[in-house]
Amino acid sequence: MAAGTASIGAPRPRPPWLESAIGQGLALIAAFAIAIAVGSLIVVLYGESPLTVYGAMLRFAFKDVTSVGTILSIATPLIFAALAVSVCFKGGLFNIGVEGQFLVGMVTASWAALYLDFLPGLLHLIAVLLFACLGGMIYAAVPGILKVKTGAHEVVTTIMMNGIAVSVVAYALNGPLKFTKAPPGQNVDLRTDIFEPSALVPDLGHLFGVEPSAHLSWLFPIAIVAAVVVWVLFRRMRLGYEARAIGSSAGSARAGGISIGVVQIKLFLISGALAGLIGMQQVLGERGALVQNYEAQLGFTGIAVAFLGQNNPIGIVFAAILWAVLSRGETALQIDTDVPREFVIILQGILIFCVVVVYQVARRRLARLQLQRAGAEVGLRDTAAPEDEGRKDD
């Protein structure tokens, strides 16, 4: 009887989405506070003041519009990478192979840039981007099919596929895509021929007074669009619903009539398409060719950024920018302080760890709270209590 009267007089409870948003926000703030505190401790051990160090990093990162442009161009591939990771993660899949898919995407895109140059203007660029997606998709399909058909865990297979992808790039650069038009009498590092301008992504930064050296290209807005598309896919489309159902409980999803294998392969394909675009910033936005000493590891950084953004597409955009700010701050450490630049990698690591742990704790708290409230609403307060007592074991 107490339950019935309590719910009448009580203020209307906050809607669940707002509650989880507040919960996530608080968890993020707590995680950041802990990470900054631990980072400060390390800084103090180096005999520097945390304020000086963090201040120097921020001042350098935001010193002018070109530096901001550089941050956004660093963030661009990270957004694609983290989105690729998060798409699979929503369905309970760990695509550690984003790294390999991005490497293969660079190879297929370079092929299209070199051999589809008969296409006029913008069509050439679109074809190149499509081939990048296609390469990533084909490469992601392999672990997806293996997972569904044989049960081989995607973490092991994708890691192996990453190892193979490194050799694929090496083979392409030594064989079919090796440059043919070297400037005479010069030693050229191993790379493809320089692409036609029609294959390149145009510069965006000059519209905002950003120097061309920042390489801020139209890929950044494309990355934002990709984030919005992923958001719509998961919030408004059937596939997103099915993926979330599988991610939270594969058993219930199967009982609900969802074909798990089909959804998982679709997720791998979407993830691979996004992964294929990771390399476009460096290939089409910066170098204009595929070079031997390409920037690797972006797929792995994408995992960290996805965790930091809590697998939310909008959160990922901000997480990628934050990651880029920290990376940019490395240079400031070298110039202005005695703290080694490796401090930034440690700080990023601590941050990820704090976010993962705090988010997990907060999620459990919230779930327990909602369970209690639901119990109270249907008048089952007494049955909610033993559940709570059981937790005292913790």
């Binding site: 760990f94 550690i96 293996l146 044989t150 049960g151 081989a152 865990h153 973490v155 092991v156 297979t157 890691i159 192996m160 596929m161 990453n162 190892g163 193979i164 050799s167 694929v168 090496a170 083979y171 030594n174 064989g175 792995f300 995992i303 960290a304 965790f307 080694p340 490796e342 401090f343 990698i345 440690i346 990023q348 690591g349 601590i350 990820i352 760890f353 993962v356 742990v357 997990q360 704790v361 459990r364 059981g390 937790r391 074991d393 913790d394």
Partner: protein
């Protein structure tokens, strides 16, 4: 290609066997206790840098090091194992105490390890990505009788690191501890059915902590072996995904320390193919980049072909709700 090449390939396979078996055993202890550990690679990475640093301190020449000789090298390797265990405690805190998803935590371990290794390297060696080559290592041993096999095959049993013998004989105490002691029974029960374990008055969390710490120590030792005994210095990225291949070997072995020996040798031999058997028939027809893919392809094929025939510990990867206090 002749028999000498095969002998040399088997010798390389023994080296990789050592790395994969030690790391795989680490994964075995962790997963048998119920904690999935895909952070083995990261634990190895920490072992490579700290092992190299430990050896430099304990066995390095007099002004900087203590010059303890072979004993110093052993201490250095053990230091790598200790640091691996310390780093694994992060995974233990996250998965056992905070009940973070095991794979998420393992991925974070791997990500953080790269940065941590650079940071430690900067502290130990004042350079971020490698230490000076040619550090001290243990003396090499020949196996009696086997090393006298004629025709080049004996090469496989010459000039081996004592750590290889340690790894081979480790199967005896590990199998005994796992299947013949009370502790082993409890550890396995924590990974199969923690609720039942708890109902018998046995605390699950300490067992899982022990499993994870052992995995860190063994993966750290394996990493230290790689940098100290195999390469001669620490270099960034020298683990080359071997931690994950060890994980694959563990799956192939059905989480059994005896079968793990065969799986580790199989994958170790696959690693040796690009290095020593690249002029064998069929293989020599491939472009060199394709030969480099062989170890990875072998791993994928083995996992895809055998995964349906194995059974992981029933509770591995599942959080135990009473873990904090019970």
């Amino acid at each position: 290609m002749d028999l000498g090449d095969i002998g040399a390939a088997v010798r390389i396979a023994f080296t990789y066997f050592t790395i994969l078996y030690l790391t795989g055993l680490g994964g075995l202890f962790s997963e048998r206790s119920g904690i999935v550990n895909i952070g083995l690679e990261g634990l190895m990475v920490v072992g490579t840098v700290t092992g190299a640093a430990g050896v430099a301190v304990f066995a390095g020449p007099a002004p900087e090091g203590m010059g303890l000789g072979a004993g110093g090298v052993v201490l250095g390797l053990l230091f790598g194992a200790l640091c691996g265990a310390l780093f694994a405690s992060v995974h233990a805190v996250a998965t056992i105490n905070f009940r973070v998803d095991h794979i998420v935590s393992g991925v974070v371990i791997n990500l953080v390890a790269i940065g941590l290794a650079r940071f430690l390297s900067y502290i130990f060696f004042e350079q971020a990505t490698q230490s000076d080559p040619g550090g001290p290592h243990l003396g090499r041993v020949d196996i009696p009788l086997l090393s006298d096999i004629p025709g080049g095959l004996g090469n496989a049993f010459r000039n081996l690191s004592p750590v290889f013998l340690f790894a081979v004989f480790l199967v005896v105490p590990v199998t005994f501890a796992l299947y013949r002691t009370r502790w082993g029974l409890r550890l396995r029960s924590a990974g199969e059915n923690p609720e039942a374990t708890r109902s018998l008055g046995v605390a699950v969390a300490p067992l899982r902590w022990q499993g994870v710490l052992l995995s860190g120590a063994l993966a750290g030792l394996s990493g230290a072996f790689l940098s100290v005994e195999v390469v001669g210095n620490w270099r960034e990225g020298q683990t080359l995904g071997l931690g994950f291949i060890a994980l694959a070997a563990l799956i192939l072995s059905n989480w059994d320390p005896r079968r793990l020996m065969f799986a580790a040798f199989l994958f170790g031999f696959a690693q040796a193919i690009p290095l020593r058997l690249d002029d064998a028939p069929i293989i020599s027809a491939l472009p060199p980049q394709f030969i480099n893919m062989i170890p990875y392809v072998v791993t994928i094929v083995a996992i895809a072909g055998f995964v349906a025939k194995v059974r992981p510990p029933a509770a591995a990867g599942r959080a135990y709700e009473g873990a904090g206090g019970g």
